[in-house]
């Protein structure tokens, strides 16, 4: 698969057209601004004093700089509990998911394996037809997982798109290496652990990141399966924003309402920060899944 960066080269031989270039730059600048401005606004709100917010003075830069909002969420014990929950779900959930998907994907990447094509059909079919909300909910509760952290950690380990990314990646590895290892006396488990996995860093990073982002961002499954002490931070945020949960002075009127806005903004920033900070460094892995793992059975 050709990379996106490489192709840009050919543009350089193409002649310039001033009008077109200006239009394109303006459009792209607009796209950049539209992507960034909402975050700048929320950051500005979270650091602004309540008077400034009340008087509608804040737009893209903090006015009357204060850490009051952050102080309030730090003093609110549920915030740390929820943040800790999210960290647990993200870390353990991703680890479990990767283990299951690697064990599933490696045999499925072997076309010669009897039953492989049937299993692939099983996987692909489940992408187009699923149990739906209620049967899934009833399954989780009849397994006794509802109200335990396992309801978040266990049921979401195998995502078919991610699985297919891994299968396609394993298929792309040169078979000669495995044959050589087989001759050297390694069994298939040994080959998977000692040969295949060390070569699969990029694919594992891609799939691991998608999975981690899923766990980090989830709020809905937390809502239907968990007790409030087990809520992830995104669910806490949702509850703060729609007024189910009050943090500090959030939910007050007048002066207090503007504190509420600052507090909401601070929760948005703190809960999104890890993704925003890590994203630029891991970007290539994020994009890889889209190009390498083109979904084909």
């Amino acid at each position: 698969m050709t990379t996106i960066a490489a192709a840009s080269q050919k543009n350089h031989i193409r002649e310039r057209s001033l009008v077109l270039d200006i239009v394109i730059y303006l459009v792209m600048l607009f796209a950049l601004i539209v992507c960034v401005v909402p975050f700048l606004y929320i950051i500005a709100m979270s650091f602004s004093s309540s008077e400034a917010i009340l008087n509608n003075k804040v737009s893209l830069w903090p006015v009357g700089f204060t850490l009051e909002a952050y102080q309030q969420i730090v003093e609110y014990p549920n915030f740390f509990i929820a943040y800790g929950n999210t960290l647990i779900y993200t870390f353990c959930g991703t680890l479990f998911a990767l283990t299951m998907m690697v064990l599933f994907a490696y045999p499925l990447s072997k076309n010669f394996l009897r039953g492989q094509s049937f299993l692939m059909k099983l996987v692909v079919f489940s992408m187009f037809f699923s149990g739906g909300l209620i049967p899934n909910y009833l399954l989780i509760s009849s397994l006794g997982l509802t109200g335990t952290r396992f309801a978040m950690l266990i049921p979401f380990a195998i995502n078919q798109f991610n699985l297919i990314i891994l299968i396609n990646f394993f298929k792309s590895l040169p078979g000669e290496i495995e044959e050589a290892a087989l001759i050297d006396g390694l069994n298939w488990f040994g080959i998977l652990i000692k040969i295949v996995l060390p070569l699969s860093g990029a694919a594992l990073a891609t799939v691991g990141l998608y999975t981690a982002v899923f766990f980090w961002n989830d709020w809905f499954y937390g809502l239907i399966y968990l007790n409030s002490s087990q809520y992830p931070v995104m669910l806490l945020l949702r509850n703060i924003v729609n007024g189910t949960t009050m943090v500090g002075d959030a939910g007050g009127v007048g002066e207090k309402a503007s504190v509420a806005i600052a507090v909401k903004s601070a929760v948005i920033i703190t809960s999104t920060l890890p993704i925003i900070l890590l994203y630029p460094f891991l970007q290539k892995y994020f994009v890889k899944g889209m190009t390498v793992g083109a979904v084909k059975g």
Binding site: C35, P38, F129, L133, V287
Partner: protein, 316 residues
């Protein structure tokens, strides 16, 4: 194991015993994930029988007695269901019409950028919203549109003299806001597919067009777009196949009783009937879920079939 000269598969010719001796470890690997997969993907699928059975609490997820099509008749006679059904199709169709072309245009323009650094920057920034939680997206939107302090509310008031309204609550803005946030979140990400297709175009094509006197705009119209047309086609067909699957979580986050007339889609209706109402009408909700699941399956498989026929490509 050591007797085997090579791992080259001779699967069909070897006997089962020899075959298993060679490959049993693959099946051992499969044991746990396959059991898991069946439990969490296929058991709920069969759990759909609940749509035809009466549910009793504490008697397991499959109900106690057959009632035939009772729940189907029940929801098909429900105006609320048809409202949700219409809302689903309308919102999906608007979203398709608006948000299908935008990533294509974005990819084409992105490819025309002369400065590699700027291009890289735009790519990096525009992919990012895809990884932001819908909760965060909707929370930011709610703040931007807040009637008392929202920046957009203020802009609309100062520039166009529009009186502050609680936009998130008003039914007439719901679809617009849904489509807008989808554009914000997914334009850059979806453009990757088209960008990859444009990247695959041989530079000879542009060269030839240039020699024929085509300027850059004409090159876009006569070279770029026709060449990526198969990609556009397959993406379009797949999008149509997924017409019933909207961003359920986003709709649920934007759902308020006052905008429910347009924001109640099939998925939120199922959720409200099954998990939110005090009576927990599991069977009723399962029947609706199954109904929309089957329509979805038919749409996806026929669009796949169509795609394979027309472009030779499909997702399975």
């Amino acid at each position: 194991m050591k007797a085997k000269k090579t791992a080259t598969p001779m699967a069909q010719k070897t006997s089962w015993k020899r075959y298993l001796g060679q490959y049993w470890q693959f099946y051992a690997m499969l044991l746990l994930p396959l059991a898991y997969f069946i439990l969490f993907k296929y058991v709920p699928m069969f759990g759909n029988v609940l749509a035809f059975r009466r549910f009793r609490p504490l008697t397991g997820p499959y109900g106690v007695s057959w009632v035939g099509l009772r729940y189907f008749k029940q929801f098909l006679g429900q105006p609320q269901f048809w409202n949700a059904f219409r809302n689903t199709l309308t919102l999906s169709a608007i979203n398709l019409v608006v948000n299908f072309p935008i990533p294509i245009i974005f990819a084409i323009l992105l490819n025309e950028l002369q400065s590699l650094k700027f291009k890289k920057l735009v790519q990096t920034v525009s992919y990012m919203p895809r990884f932001i939680s819908t909760v965060v997206v909707i929370s930011i939107l709610t703040e931007l549109l807040s009637p008392s302090s929202g920046m957009i509310t203020r802009l609309l008031k100062n520039w166009f003299g529009l009186a502050p309204v609680y936009y998130m609550n008003e039914p007439q803005y719901f679809r617009f806001l849904y489509v807008l946030t989808d554009a914000w979140q997914y334009t850059g990400w979806t453009a990757i597919v088209y960008l990859a297709a444009i990247t695959g175009i041989s530079s000879d094509m542009f060269e030839a067009a240039r020699i024929d006197g085509a300027n850059r705009f004409q090159q876009i119209i006569y070279v770029t777009i026709p060449t990526i047309l198969p990609t556009i086609m397959i993406m379009f067909i797949l999008k149509v196949g997924n017409l019933l699957s909207l961003g359920f979580e986003k709709v649920l986050l934007m759902y308020t009783p006052s905008n429910s007339i347009v924001s109640d889609i099939i998925d939120t209706y199922v959720y409200r009937m099954g998990l939110q109402s005090s009576t927990n009408q599991y069977s009723y909700a399962t029947a609706i879920g199954l109904f929309s699941g089957v329509i979805g399956l038919i749409l996806v498989s026929s669009s796949n079939f169509l795609s394979r026929r027309l472009t030779g490509e499909s997702i399975y």
